[in-house]
């Protein structure tokens, strides 16, 4: 089985990394972080996948997918949300203080 899902999720992580390092705008950086987060979550789920198996709800028979990654991802997603919420509120704060979201201007102004 070719691991498209693995490669896909790692690609997401790499893209997220690229965005964080290359992009100027603060919101884009935060989105980059979020993309990395979703990439990892996708990776977790694809690790737990079993070929032609259904969701682990007992009332449906047949082989089940590995439930643990799903439980973990549930937590990871909520953590991702909280970090994004905080990051965005900090970005709002920075915007209020410096009037811009461009990183160079913020740092330039600060120096």
């Amino acid at each position: 089985m070719i691991q498209y899902y693995y490669l896909g999720s790692i690609a997401l992580i790499a893209i997220g990394m690229y965005i964080v390092i290359a992009k100027r705008n603060l919101i884009k950086i935060i989105l980059g972080l979020d993309i990395m987060d979703t990439g990892v979550n996708l990776l977790f789920i694809s690790i737990g996948y079993v070929k032609n198996a259904t969701a682990p709800i007992e009332n449906v028979p047949g082989p089940y997918v590995d439930p643990i990654p799903q439980a973990l991802v549930l937590t990871a997603i909520v953590i991702g949300v909280s970090v994004m919420a905080l990051a965005l509120s900090i970005a709002i704060g920075i915007y209020k203080k410096t009037g811009t979201l461009e990183l160079d201007e913020i740092l330039g102004v600060k120096k």
Binding site: M17, V20, I21, A22, I29, L103, L107, K110, K111
Partner: protein
């Protein structure tokens, strides 16, 4: 006497004293004096029963109380007892803090002397060095900073030495160092680290820069610092060369007319220190700086003795360390008394105080005699032993340097005597009173041994001989009144009798006629109006000598250190640029770090 009493009396008691005296406010010095007095009494009582013990405070501290420790503790205890007695009446600001830190330093010093394993040595060494730091901090932060840098450098040199020994023997005990686990070629490294580490405390030349700064803080502390604590350096070097390494190991590095090639370079270093210290001392105008450089010079002698390593040389070094402890602290206390009464530091500003403070003058005079090595005091005997050691083994570089340095000592001694005590009394010092009681008592305590041991050198030579025999270095030949070596000897009893008889004869010749006391302006002004400012020739006293030495004096070691640290600070600002402040760079660092990590991990596995 078991481990706890030994450790308790000599280390815990001063620590408790430090705590108690902090709250003593005005009476703190008196409390401190009592504590040091108690440990002094015990020191006297326990002369006989030596022994080694271990204390477990979580880590095992091995302590040994033997003749070498006893000898150095005698110095340490007397010097701190008299400096604290001195400070009772010297109205120090925040005397509580002063007494606490002095007792902390004392506890640290006792700990170093008792320690027989590197952990406790390093522990007490650091305790002692930072208590000095805080004492110097009381006067000036900048001087304290410079001192601490060297103090820490000395501690870390020790750490390197200890570490290498620990790498080979796996234990901290001194005794285990000789267990043969250490290969022969490593010993020079270990000894260099240890000796330089201890040498910094003795202000050996390249590392002497901190001394003039540290010695310009409160005089009672400085007396203890230069008189007592610098002896720890001597003790450390003696232990590392002759107890940890052992004389036979030193000899195994090839001997040059009976002196180990390992020790000889340090003797040369000592000779250089003696010479440079004396020359620099001659040109100082501030009395504290002058005494500081002279102390560096005198400690150079001790270094020479320890470096040469023949029984006579080490005995001379021990005896000179003993004398130095007493006459140097006496000098500093004398200077302290003068500063206390007149509030002036510059020698050229003082003058004629000898007439107003006769006792202080007498004490300082005796200290100068000991410093210059005049036979009236025991200072001569230790210098004699060092010369005999150098000359009997025909060392043609070390001996001249020593001789010239001791002649140089006359110059700066007389500068103190003339500048401070003789010459013309200035008007503002007209009604200067003699130093208060406790100060004089303190100085008297320090002067007594200098005189006694010059009349009866046998006692102290006995102790030193016991030290040498116990460490297997050899023995001195001496009797109660005389001492001799391969190429010469001297009998102090005959000297004293002859001197006293001839002095009485001169007295008789002199007493024939009475003389009329006359005012200081009487004779040479012959009736002219006295000048508004007293003509005191002490200003820039050795100007001709300074001009001849000018080309050499231009390069000062202090400025070399200044440039050295400027260079490094510049480098630091370059490194600072890594923290650019841009989170994106930081993210890039993180990525690079990850890849670097992986590379190393991968490379290691394949």
């Amino acid at each position: 006497m078991d481990a706890l009493t030994l450790f308790g009396i000599f280390v815990l008691l001063p620590l408790v004293g430090a705590l108690v005296s902090y709250f003593g406010k005005k009476y703190a010095p008196i409390i401190a004096v009592i504590f040091t007095g108690i440990s002094g009494i015990f020191l006297y009582l326990w002369y006989g029963n030596f022994g080694s013990y271990t204390i477990d405070i979580g880590v095992k501290l091995n302590l040994t109380f033997d003749i070498t420790t006893w000898f150095f503790m005698l110095m340490m205890n007397t010097v701190i007892f008299s400096s604290l007695l001195f400070s009772v009446s010297s109205k120090l600001k925040r005397a509580g803090g002063f007494a606490t830190l002095m007792l902390l330093g004392f506890a640290g010093a006792n700990g170093v002397l008792l320690a027989r394993d590197f952990l406790s040595l390093y522990l007490f060494w650091e305790l002692m060095s930072w208590s000095i730091y805080l004492l110097v901090l009381r006067t000036s932060g900048e001087y304290a900073r410079r001192y601490l840098l060297f103090g820490v450098l000395s501690a870390y040199l020790l750490i390197m030495g200890i570490g290498i020994i620990y790498y080979y023997t796996g234990s901290f005990l001194y005794a285990d160092a000789l267990s043969g686990a250490i290969p022969h070629a490593i010993w020079p490294w270990i000894l260099t680290f240890l000796i330089l580490g201890f040498g910094i405390k003795m202000a050996i030349v390249p590392f002497h820069v901190w001394a003039p700064y540290a010695y310009s803080s409160e005089q009672p502390f400085v007396a203890f610092l230069s008189g007592g604590l610098s002896k720890l350096g001597a003790f450390g070097i003696f232990m590392s060369m002759y107890s940890i390494a052992g004389i036979s190991l030193l000899q195994s590095f090839g001997t040059f007319r009976g002196v180990s090639l390992m020790g000889y370079p340090f003797a040369l270093l000592g000779a250089a220190t003696a010479f440079i210290g004396t020359i620099l001392a001659i040109f100082q105008d501030d009395i504290r700086k002058l005494l500081a450089y002279s102390s560096i010079g005198q400690l150079g002698y001790v270094m020479i003795g320890l470096g040469l390593g023949t029984p006579l040389a080490i005995g001379g070094a021990m005896f000179h360390a003993f004398n130095h402890a007493f006459f140097k602290s006496l000098l500093f206390l004398g200077a302290g008394a003068v500063i206390y009464r007149t509030g002036k530091y510059k020698i050229s500003e003082m003058g004629g105080l000898g007439y107003r403070m006769p006792f202080t003058f007498m004490f300082v005079l005796f200290a100068i005699f000991a410093l210059a090595g005049i036979p009236l005091t025991s200072g001569f005997i230790s210098k004699w032993m060092l010369y005999e050691a150098a000359i009997s083994r025909k060392f043609v570089i070390v001996a001249p340097l020593m001789l010239i340095a001791s002649v140089g000592a006359y110059l700066y001694s007389y500068r103190i005597l003339y500048g401070v005590f003789l010459g013309q009394l200035k008007d503002e010092d007209k009604n200067v009173k003699e130093a208060p009681g406790p100060m004089l008592a303190a100085m008297f305590i320090l002067m007594v041994p200098l005189v006694i041991f010059s009349i009866v050198p046998g006692w102290i030579l006995g102790w030193i001989n016991k030290i040498l025999v116990e460490n297997g270095i050899g023995k001195l030949n001496y009797t109660t009144f005389s001492y001799s070596s391969a190429i010469g000897g001297a009998n102090m009893a005959v000297f004293w009798i002859a001197f006293i008889l001839l002095l009485i004869f001169a007295m008789l010749m002199f007493m024939a006629k009475k003389a009329r006391v006359v005012d200081q302006y009487d004779n040479y002004l012959a009736g002219e109006a006295p000048p508004s400012v007293a003509l005191h020739a002490a200003h820039n006293y050795y100007k001709p000598l300074r001009d001849t030495w000018a080309p050499l004096l231009k390069h000062s070691i202090d400025r070399a250190y200044e440039k050295f640290s400027k260079f490094f600070a510049g480098g630091f600002y370059e490194i600072k640029r890594i923290y650019t402040g841009n989170p994106q760079d930081y993210a890039a660092y993180l990525g690079i770090a990850f890849l670097a990590f992986l590379l190393v991990g991968w490379w290691l596995l394949w």
